[in-house]
């Protein structure tokens, strides 16, 4: 075969590279600028309770988007992975529950918590990858449910029904990271790194092979890929995104309890990812922002309309239903199909 070695033209190479890297559009840079400047315009409540929370949930949903969108594996265990890391930081570090927490310094407790979170995600993945489709959903849901009930019943390590309170972001480099502005940047930073990693990995050999496995696992095995190992590695990578987000979530709430890893929140992550759109890594963040806004303001809206404030779940459920029915690729798909073509059309020309 050495005889048939082709001379690639430089232009073909450049084209190939451009297609592989894909430039960040101007709108992306504008969005980045707005997000970085946000503390100048938004109140503390918006910075932490809206954007901070949305970045955290978005990152956890992103780990699901990576597995589902690129790997074809719908994992319901991502919230549990995040919650596990959150529990670990409470157990290893400091919390109000001094008889359990080991009181390790944050620079030790946080990395070890993330590492254990990744380990938890990898083991869950190893259990789940030999199944496909609905069975993957079932087995990951079973792991999530088992962990939820375990934390509720285990008093000695997981603090039982009440969990851990008083888990705070640390103070270092002279910055109090629990203060609204630093915490906002912490959440934004991890969300941005996670997004960038997913975009990068999707076009790297590892991600390409994962998409190949999603499309045709049998053929990938016949090309020399160890499909099982590759899938487990994808779970490990997804857990690496979700685990730090879980630590941030614990710091945001100041506490971690079984309610954080309950079946409701586990399903919410799936809802967020689907509403936002599984096709691209930005989708989960759009979904998370919508979810957070609904959670925070739907209650007021319902009360204003004379309905019970408890019905906000109904609105989220209806939103999910409408998305699945009318735009299976989420809000992102709606944008791609309806809004952008019109905008481009109005701008005169269109490409």
């Amino acid at each position: 075969m050495a005889a048939v070695r082709a001379r690639a033209t430089p232009s073909a190479d450049a084209k190939y590279e451009a297609a592989r890297t894909g430039g960040i559009p101007a709108a992306g840079w504008l969005l980045a600028l707005v997000l970085v400047m946000m503390p100048a315009i938004a109140s503390d409540f918006f910075l932490v309770q809206v954007f901070g929370w949305a970045f955290i949930l978005g990152t956890i949903a992103l780990s699901l988007q990576f597995l589902a969108g690129y790997g074809g594996m719908v994992s319901l265990v991502q919230m549990t992975v995040a919650g596990f890391a959150g529990y670990m930081v409470a157990i290893l570090g400091t919390s109000g529950l001094t008889q359990i927490s080991l009181g390790w310094p944050f620079w030790l407790a946080v990395p070890v918590a993330i590492l254990l979170g990744v380990l938890f995600g990898t083991v869950s993945g190893a259990l789940a990858v030999r199944t496909a489709g609905i069975y993957t959903i079932m087995i990951t849901l079973a792991i999530a449910a088992a962990f939820f009930y375990f934390t509720r019943q285990n008093e000695t390590v997981f603090g039982g029904f009440l969990g851990f309170n008083g888990v705070r972001a640390p103070v270092f480099w002279g910055i109090d990271w629990r203060a609204p502005v630093p915490f906002y940047y912490l959440c934004l930073g991890w969300a941005a790194i996670s997004w960038g990693l997913v975009v990068w990995v999707a076009r790297a050999p590892f991600g390409l092979a994962l998409q190949g496995i999603r499309d045709n696992a049998r053929r990938m095995a016949a090309l020399g890929f160890n499909v099982t190992a590759h899938r487990i590695a994808a779970y490990a990578f997804a857990a690496f995104l979700a685990a730090p987000a879980g630590v941030l979530l614990t710091w945001l709430n100041g506490q971690i309890a079984p309610g954080t890893v309950g079946i409701g929140p586990v399903i919410d992550i799936l809802v967020i990812a689907v509403i936002g759109g599984l096709g691209r890594p930005i989708g989960p963040f759009i979904g998370a922002l919508l979810y957070v806004l609904l959670r925070l303001f739907a209650m007021d809206l319902l009360v204003a309309l004379g309905l019970s404030g408890q019905r906000f779940q109904l609105i989220i459920g209806l939103g999910f239903l409408l998305t699945v029915l009318f735009s299976p690729d989420g809000v992102l798909g709606l944008w791609e199909r309806w809004i952008r073509p019109r905008l481009v059309g109005r701008a005169g020309g269109g490409r």
Partner: protein, 262 residues
Amino acid sequence: MATAIAERLSATGQVNALELRGVTKYFGALAALSDVTLSVRPGERRAILGSNGAGKTTLLNCITGDFFPTSGTIRFFGEDVTTFPAHERIRRGLRRTYQISLLFGGLSVLDNVYLACLGVSRGRFSFLRPRRGDPLLESARALVHAVHLDAVADKKVAELAHGQQRQLEVALALAGAPRFLLFDEPAAGLSPAERGELVAILNSLPSHIGYVIIEHDMDVALRVVESVTLMHEGRIFKEGTPAEIESDPEVQELYLGHRHAA
């Protein structure tokens, strides 16, 4: 690449490329393969003929590890690979194509071949994107060229004509350093002109690479092989040179379907 293969060949001596002993495969109570014993020398080119349901594709699936035989052993260049998963056999130099193209429709032609090259390289888990002049990317380009698909290298595979998809199937099987190939009806659905192109590609393979080809079209099969195995109802029925098989009265009766027609 060629020297590496020569070294491996001399190291393996006169060991057969493929050595099947008593391979049997049951699907429930149905014996798809019964006691198949077969040896193919390195570099040998062998056709497997037989009517539909004779067990040809099942045999290929057992050899590549798509599924495991119920009993019997499979040796690849002397090594017992009977219980090896498919990817382990592929990494040892076995390659195959599929009867119905199994390709990645959403990816470009080049990305398809790139994946094939990646599968038998050490960079499978790499997080680093390929850069200009990446050796894997270069060898992918060379393969695209070898199967005459340069013009559509950046096209999505789903947009390709059937014949081009069959050529791509062959390219995927040639990735890395193949030692032995299995072709499952590579000419299925091809036009006469495309068949000619396929025969040219098969005949241009380096002579040290042997293969087994399943083919209904005698014109293709008998022009590219030196020996023929005829299968019938999961068993080996006859073996010989193309000329012997063609002139065998028993074969003619069976393969041309007189008995079935009656």
